[in-house]
Amino acid sequence: MSAARLLRSLIYVKDAWGFRWDKRVKKWNCAMNLYTAEHLNVDASGQDSDSADEGSARGALYESRRKIFPKRAEGRFRRFKWLVMLITLGIYYLTPWIRWDRGPYAPDQAVLVDLANRRFYFFFIEIWPQEFFYVAGLLVMAGFGLFLVTSAVGRAWCGYTCPQTVWVDLFLLVEGWIEGDRNARMKLDAGPWTFDKIRKRVFKHAIWMAISVSTGGAWIFYFADAPTLAYDVVVGNAALVAYSTIAVLASITYVFGGLLREQVCIYMCPWPRIQAAMLDDDSLVVTYNDWRGEPRNRHAKKLAAAGEPVGDCVDCNACVAVCPMGIDIRDGQQLACITCALCIDACDSVMDKIGKPRGLIAYATLNEYQSNMELATDNGTTRINPKKVRDADGSFVDQVRHFDWRIIFRARTLLYMGVWSAVGVAMLIALLNRDRLEVNVLHDRNPQYVLESDGSIRNGYTIRLLNMIPEPRTILLSLDGLPDATMKINGLSSDDGRLFAVSVDPDKATTLKVFVTVPARALPDGNESFSFIAEDRSSHEHDRYNATFNSPEGKK
């Protein structure tokens, strides 16, 4: 029974993740129970057999996997998914090969995580480790982006863009190409181990492994200059970590995409559980509209001639055959459904053939569904009666609710959108205003000050000039405050002064040992604040660091 199964899956979720599910379970359970009219002791479809005995339906704690042979679907969602697969795989495989000229002092790879030098390059953006909060900001945006998408169009992430879904789709494409479509594959799988079967299987797994290795291989190119690394990997000169990364990612891809497939989504992934909590009554989910489909029957014409009520569902199982998760969407919304919408394509093509309107399986909100169910069952008092939703000529009555796109722009999604954009705008502003020249100062702690032979006091500082652009520069380092103080920089000049020109390397932090000396006559009693100023006169950038000069107290 759909409601029972849903309830079970949600209870399982509650147990496994410890979330507060009770309210939602109750709500969904009521809704589903009501309209499948279990309490009327009327089996709405006449097909569901497991509702008779709840106890046996609970099943064993351990269940062997049932092999799934998804049929290739055709239609608009399938076409959209091909497009998404092309784009996502294209981004993944090709991005490291995009070049981006940054001049002679920085790598020319558009996207590069340079771990050795602790730099992250993304087209025109270069991030130093201390600017890593931009990446944290991107993660916050990714999080809210997922909230937004999920509350609006349900588990679209799962169905279209999740790497697991995309790679499984790719692996299924290969499988279908070699072994044929659903029926051929089932036959092959059940058949004996003939030479032809071995040949096909070896060929299939070889291609899967090739895809897996290139998937692992593409990953490492994000961490080093892609053409150089590609050559090194091929000739065997690359670092061991490169090969082990390829091996680990290749085996994960092969095992997850080729062998485990839907089990990753059902048993391993936490995201389905989390997403279930983010759906609400106005979220678009792939829905079997049983208010127009039931009672389903394979001999609709015969029954109709006999005057029986007949729904649109001809029970052709096309929706089940195409499902990569191996579920029956007619059982209702369930944990295992990744909302890939392939069942919509399958059902639409059948509806086209038999001359019924499309949308027996469609993206719908729970609110629409509930309202239409109330219509079809007289507020749950009768079993589903197709006549209630149809006029005499077969078209839907006016009371049937159809999807209204305005529901996407409700307070909840607008709030997510707002937070998402606010983080994005804040990051953009921060990015445009960030410093590319910084000065950091570390005061010597041991000793805090040194008494010189003429009675003056000297303090030592370690100064880091951060030149965050890939060009060499001359930075003027000067003192502000302590009018009598002079500074000396190790390795730069043996003279004292208050302003020094320091040549700094491109895209590097330059460390200087700086000594500041205040003569005996001008000594502050105790500590006095002053500033180091770093300045690039050509670009008008400057940065200031407030430091402290220590001298002995009560010695003046």
Binding site: R445, P447, E452
Partner: protein
């Protein structure tokens, strides 16, 4: 062991133990557990063959891989040396001035010297090289034996008053308790503190000045500026090593304490001593 007993409810044989009517089912071990267990046995056998394992009378079996942790250490030391890219060899070859002139060598030597300093020098000079009474502060600009890079190297390499090294820094201030009367010592001490700005009455300073010229100026200089060839400190500046204040100065004149430092070239490699010299020179007082 009791006779074979089958549990009625589960149809599984029991182990035969019974305690207060409770029996234990003799279910087989889980397969994954069993295979993991077999795996560890195979692993153990392979390990015994490949690695040193069995203790014999004199030593343990070597294992076919010939592994030893000593060899591993030697290998790691070698790869660390290689990772330095020959910079150590360069430091041992070039002069100290050349090290200071080359930013890369200077940086390496300063860092290497700092770590050698923490092991060998901090016991007397302190972690911040500030010293204490009797142990010179290496940060300031007062140097007993000279503050340029070569003088610093010479002092570290050969030590101060080292009993073995022939080139060691050595000088000996006599104990003036045998030469001067106690009153005369007090007068000299009064004169010495007056040089660095402490006001004293002329009745002490005048005789003290004369006594200083007669007894002290030959080493410490006419105007008490000190003499680095003799390790005689400047007595007219703000820095006091062995004694601070008139009474302590008088004691130092009567029975001087002398600092001692070992000759480090006998204990450390010449590259390490060079790096130490560069580090000490970098502390701020280097000339």
């Amino acid at each position: 062991m009791a006779e074979k007993h089958i549990d009625e409810l589960s149809g599984v044989e029991t182990t035969g133990h019974e305690w207060d009517g409770i029996r234990e089912l003799n279910n087989p071990m889980p397969r994954w557990w069993l295979w993991t267990f077999y795996g560890t046995i195979v692993w153990g056998i392979a390990y015994m063959i490949l690695y040193p394992a069995w203790p014999m009378v004199n030593e343990a079996t070597k294992g076919v891989l010939g592994y030893s942790s000593r060899a591993e250490l030697a290998g790691e030391m070698e790869s660390a040396r290689l990772a330095q890219g020959g910079i150590m060899e360069k430091i041992s070859k070039v002069s100290l001035e050349e090290i200071l002139a080359d930013p890369q060598l200077a940086q390496f030597a300063t860092a290497g010297g700092a770590s050698a300093f923490r092991v060998n020098c901090v016991q007397c000079h302190g972690t911040g090289a500030v010293g204490s009474q009797g142990y010179p502060n290496l940060n300031d600009d007062e140097w007993l034996w000279g503050g340029d890079i070569n003088a610093i190297y010479q002092t570290i390499a050969h030590g101060v008053r080292d009993t073995v090294d022939a080139d060691t820094r050595i000088s000996d201030m006599p104990a003036f308790m045998d030469i001067l009367q106690p009153e005369e010592v007090r007068q000299v001490a009064a004169y010495v503190v007056s040089l660095s700005g402490t006001p004293r009455d002329a009745s002490m300073i005048e005789p003290g000045k004369q006594l200083y010229a007669d007894n002290c100026a030959s080493c410490h200089g006419e105007s008490a500026e000190g003499n680095r060839d003799l390790g005689a400190p400047n007595l007219a500046d703000a820095i006091w090593l062995k004694a601070e204040g008139e009474a302590e100065i008088a004691r130092q004149i009567q029975a001087p304490k002398h600092g001692v430092m070992p000759a480090w070239n006998a204990r450390l490699s010449s590259e390490t001593v060079k790096q130490l010299a560069v580090y000490v020179h970098s502390l701020g007082g280097g000339e």
